[in-house]
């Protein structure tokens, strides 16, 4: 073991010690279990000792987990919380498939470090549902066939939801502007427009 690794381990031990204390305190107060910071695929993975604690609210539920600082919000949602409704398509903030709401605003979750979402209120496509009931906006996408393959659809719907929160009765130009950061290669655009405009009809 070279000195760098020793240093890492020391840091890690100290870190865990500190974070465990914090965890205990918080668990008692909020009853939020600390989730494993490793994805299901991370079995046996060497912890490099740089994990950090993340607390945020996802779909109205408080969440706390230990993550590597490099983890994106999309990775936290998909890999750690298993909310696979949020998709990753370009993984660099260019297509909008990963769009979720953060404090009511549309963000590209693949292009944002999860730690930057600390303390915020995140809503994913799953969070629009009431139990198994579709949200009226989701139902509008079914009724107007605002999708084809469906892979960009959760992102489209979340971008539309952000718009509707701001403008409950948007005009077509407002729809085009608000949704132009969400690519649909199937180009179901005309029916996406109908879906968003038709929500309140």
């Amino acid at each position: 073991m070279n000195s760098d690794e020793k240093k890492d381990r020391m840091t890690r031990r100290q870190f865990i010690k500190t974070s465990t204390l914090t965890t205990v305190g918080t668990v008692i107060l909020t009853k939020v279990p600390l989730l494993s910071g490793e994805s299901a695929s991370g079995e046996g993975i060497q912890d490099n000792g740089r994990k950090q604690l993340l607390s945020l609210t996802v779909n109205d539920k408080p969440v706390r987990l230990l993550i590597e600082p490099r983890t994106t919000l999309a990775e936290v949602l998909r890999d750690h919380l298993k909310l696979t409704g949020t998709k990753i398509s370009c993984n660099r903030g260019q297509c909008g498939s990963c769009t979720v709401l953060m404090n009511g605003k549309a963000v590209y979750s693949c292009h944002m470090l999860a730690l930057d979402a600390a303390g915020s209120n995140v809503t994913t496509i799953e969070g629009l549902l009431s139990g198994e009931e579709l949200h009226p906006l989701q139902q509008a996408f079914v009724n107007h066939d605002g999708l084809q393959c469906g892979f960009c659809t959760p992102g489209q719907i979340m971008a539309a939801q952000a718009l509707l929160l701001k403008h409950p009765k948007p005009t077509k130009p407002q729809v085009l502007e608000a949704m132009s950061g969400n690519l649909c290669r199937c180009a179901a655009y005309p029916k996406i427009i109908d879906s968003v405009l038709g929500t309140n009809k």
């Binding site: 299901a40 695929s41 991370g42 079995e43 046996g44 993975i45 060497q46 490099r70 998909r78 890999d79 298993k82 696979t84 409704g85 998709k87 990753i88 398509s89 370009c90 993984n91 660099r92 260019q94 297509c95 498939s97 994913t124 496509i125 799953e126 549902l129 579709l134 989701q138 139902q139 996408f141 079914v142 009724n143 066939d145 999708l147 084809q148 393959c149 469906g150 892979f151 960009c152 659809t153 959760p154 719907i157 729809v175 085009l176 502007e177 949704m179 132009s180 950061g181 969400n182 690519l183 649909c184 290669r185 199937c186 180009a187 179901a188 655009y189 005309p190 029916k191 996406i192 427009i193």
Partner: protein, 764 residues
């Protein structure tokens, strides 16, 4: 059980007439005539998988997450042409979290691309596969790639399509610089004589760009071994094709491979071929004894999984003053990329318009770039762009309206095979479309608008195959609650396969669509259906579903006859209920019948009948475009597209409109925006992401009118439907190009029609 026979059944997949020994219903499928009143077919039924897709519950391959699943990433060649002298993976293997590394050194030679291997130490393009790493996380696998040391012998390369044919360019396939070692040709009549009798001859060259599919869901597979049996979740357009190919590559019986693709995020042709990544993941999974997920990055998708090949087309067309086409010749060049692919685009010239004298030659060159693949209507958008552009120029020279000129050269039969079409309603489509766009208001003098912003109208025609055919089988299971489960080995790319299968069975059994559940995309569950390409799915699988449902109906009637002790002739089937004609007995619902059976279920499998002998089955259409060109900025804006097509019976109006919108917008994108850009000095693709590779956003959406000629082509197949995945993209770019000419009076012969090209043309 209906009568069946084994026969050699034929269908066209693109331009190849494919013959299969297959079982078909001996007397064909029962025809659903145009006049047959339908309750469900043709109606705008909402997508039956809509809930899953809008709720986030649809599990795509990309979302499959198995216990102990490892993640794989691929090392790809940084050079367009090189040979691996030495490879050292020891540092990568030593990285904590790395589970295995495979290369050509520790795997057997698995054949790929006719004359290459899964891992070929001869690297033929920047992106060719070198090694694949399995690790605990994607991030670790990615880090490991950087630790693999490769000593390359860098070789001369060529990325220019035309230079690749020259004697000085490097050769990296035994067959030489051309695919198949030579040009592909077609000839009919006597073109010399044809040109001699013409009054007008126009010659011009056209170029089109290489375009990349870029479906939204990345190419990905998740593989899991159970002993010597393999389960593959794959984002594919053909589950059976992947099953057969993976089995062959790994030396397994086909029965040991199960391929699942319940939901897949778009294909457009790029997911018709089995991915190297799938087989690499299977090899890694076997090695480490754990499931493996592999997903391509957007960059890999722009390098390594296909493209629409570029084209250079040299056309010459002769016509008489009265508008009769007398001769057409074309020589085309296109790049196959690093491995074999036919980069042909002359098909529309062979058959779209009546012309006795035609001579065509196509050269597909090998270049050190990613191999081309089928891309939504291979060859057709590029071929139609050149053909319909030059035809407008010829029409102008002889002073004829472009629509009149096309009607003058209307092909009544297929000029290659001399066979009649099962149906061709293009005249009706021309008429409907022209009326809708207001064709009579088209500017007589191109570029005659005053002011810097000029408008124009243009048109182009479409021909495609899309007959579908056997083998295709669909199983229906009637449950004891009167609901039906449909099982088929087909897949839904977003096109609506789930929905049209449910509609077909609902139509025949006269029950609501809500009582039908569809399971597709699993080779272990559904009987064989063809891959979803070539606009084959709807016309292949819906007749088989109809056949299965009709058999079920027959079985229910015979069951009811026994239960009610009346003859079958005295029974009437209506709305899922069986009545006695006289009304003497209590009616039986289909659930009542099945509940009294010992097995409490009824299962039937229907088959797709053979296509009719002696006919060509093709779809036709026309698109009219209205554009606005800003002559100060060079920017072209598509205002409106009117699409009028003959695609037989409409199965679902809502899905059909969506499919047409998608094809047309993709066609507009091809006309104006997207283009793969290659750096000639390094041989690398420069725009490998969705910011630099331009595809349309919602704000680019033009107004689109979708018109279908109302009829049912029951000569083609029992449901009367022809495939409509590809037809919508075919004429869009050509129609836009002609509209741009009409707007500004200067012809742009090169796609995409970008502002720089428009300004250069205006200033020339």
């Amino acid at each position: 059980m209906t009568n069946r026979k084994l026969t050699r059944a034929k269908y066209f997949f693109e331009d190849s007439e494919i013959e299969h020994l297959t079982e078909v219903p001996a007397d064909g499928n029962q025809r659903m005539e145009e006049t047959d009143a339908s309750k469900v077919i043709g109606k705008p039924v909402s997508r039956v998988d809509g809930y899953n897709k809008v709720s986030g519950s649809a599990l795509f391959t990309f979302d499959v997450n198995l216990p102990r699943m490892a993640h794989a990433r691929t090392l790809r060649s940084p050079y367009p042409h090189a040979k691996i002298r030495r490879i050292d993976t020891s540092k990568a293997e030593a990285l904590p979290g790395v589970l295995a590394v495979i290369t050509h050194e520790n795997t057997s030679e698995i054949p790929w691309y006719f004359d290459s291997f899964l891992f070929d130490p001869h690297l033929r393009y920047a992106g060719d596969e070198i090694a694949c790493v399995a690790a605990e996380t994607e991030a670790i696998a990615e880090r490991a790639l950087k630790l693999i040391e490769v000593d390359y012998e860098v070789l001369p390369f060529v990325v220019d399509t035309m230079k690749a044919a020259e004697e000085t360019s490097p050769v990296f396939h035994e067959e030489g610089r051309l695919v198949f070692g030579e040009e592909i040709t077609y000839e009919r009549g006597d073109v010399e004589a044809g040109f001699a009798e013409s009054d007008v001859i126009v010659e011009d060259n056209y170029t089109t760009q290489a375009a990349v599919h870029n479906p939204t869901e990345p190419h990905c597979s998740v593989v899991k071994w159970d002993g010597d049996k393999l389960t593959v979740w794959d984002s594919t357009q053909g589950i059976y094709g992947v099953r057969d190919e993976v089995a062959e590559r790994l030396g397994l019986p086909e029965s040991h491979v199960q391929v699942i693709s319940h939901y897949m995020g778009g294909g457009f042709g790029t997911k018709l071929e089995t991915g190297k990544y799938t087989v690499m993941a299977a090899l890694l999974a076997r090695k480490i004894g754990r499931p493996v997920r592999i997903a391509l990055t957007r960059k890999e998708m722009n390098l390594a999984v296909g493209n629409r090949p570029d084209s250079l087309q040299q056309l010459k067309v002769g016509a008489k003053k009265d508008g009769t086409l007398t001769a057409m010749t074309t020589t085309t060049y296109g790049a196959a990329g690093a491995y074999r692919h036919r980069a042909i685009c002359y098909w529309p010239i062979m058959t779209m318009y009546q012309c006795a004298n035609v001579q065509l030659a196509a050269y597909s060159t090998y270049t050190n770039l990613g191999k081309a693949r089928a891309f939504r209507a291979p060859g057709h958008p590029q071929g139609t762009f050149a053909l319909d552009s030059i035809l407008d120029d010829v029409a102008e020279k002889i002073g004829m309206n472009p629509l009149e000129f096309r009607l003058k050269n209307y092909a009544e039969i297929d000029q290659v095979s001399q066979r009649p079409y099962t149906s061709k309603k293009l005249r009706e489509a021309y008429e409907l479309g022209a009326a809708k766009i207001g064709w009579t208001h088209r500017r007589k003098t191109p570029g005659s608008d005053s002011g810097p912003i000029k408008r124009g109208l243009g048109m182009a025609s479409q021909i495609w195959w899309g007959s579908g055919g056997p083998p295709a089988a669909v199983t229906v299971k009637l449950n004891n609650d009167g609901s039906v489960r449909v099982l088929a080995g087909t897949q839904d790319l977003g096109t609506g396969t789930y929905t049209i299968l449910a509609q077909t069975v609902a139509e025949v059994l006269e029950i609501p669509v809500e009582r039908i559940q569809v399971t597709i995309g699993d080779t272990a569950v559904g009987p064989y259906c063809p891959m979803s390409g070539g606009s084959m799915t709807a016309p292949s699988v819906t007749p088989a579903a109809q056949d299965a449902a009709l058999q079920l109906k027959d079985a229910l009637l015979s069951g009811a006859a026994t239960m009610l002790e009346v003859s079958e002739e005295n029974l009437i089937y209506k709305d899922g209920v069986i009545h006695t004609a006289s009304g003497e007995k209590e009616p039986l619902g289909i659930a009542d019948v099945v509940q009294r059976l010992r097995e409490r279920t009824l299962v039937r499998t229907g088959l797709r009948a053979a296509n009719p002998e002696g006919f060509m089955i093709q779809s036709f259409g026309v698109q009219f475009a209205e554009v606005e060109v800003d002559t100060w900025t060079g920017k072209v804006r598509v205002i409106r597209i009117v699409a009028a097509h003959d695609i037989g019976r409409t199965l679902n109006r809502k899905l059909l409109e969506n499919q047409f919108h998608g094809g047309i917008i993709m066609g507009m994108s091809y006309a104006l925006f997207e283009e793969r850009i290659v750096d000639e000095s390094t041989g690398k693709v420069l725009n490998t992401n969705l910011h630099d590779y331009k595809i349309p956003t919602i704000a680019d959406t033009p107004e689109i009118d979708v018109i279908t000629v109302p009829h049912s082509d029951t000569k083609a197949n029992s449901m009367g439907a022809k495939g409509c995945g590809e037809p919508p993209i075919i004429p869009t770019a050509a129609a836009i190009a002609n509209a741009v000419y009409n707007a500004i009076g200067v012809r742009i012969n090169s796609l995409p029609i970008t502002p720089d090209k428009v300004l250069n043309a205006l200033n020339a």
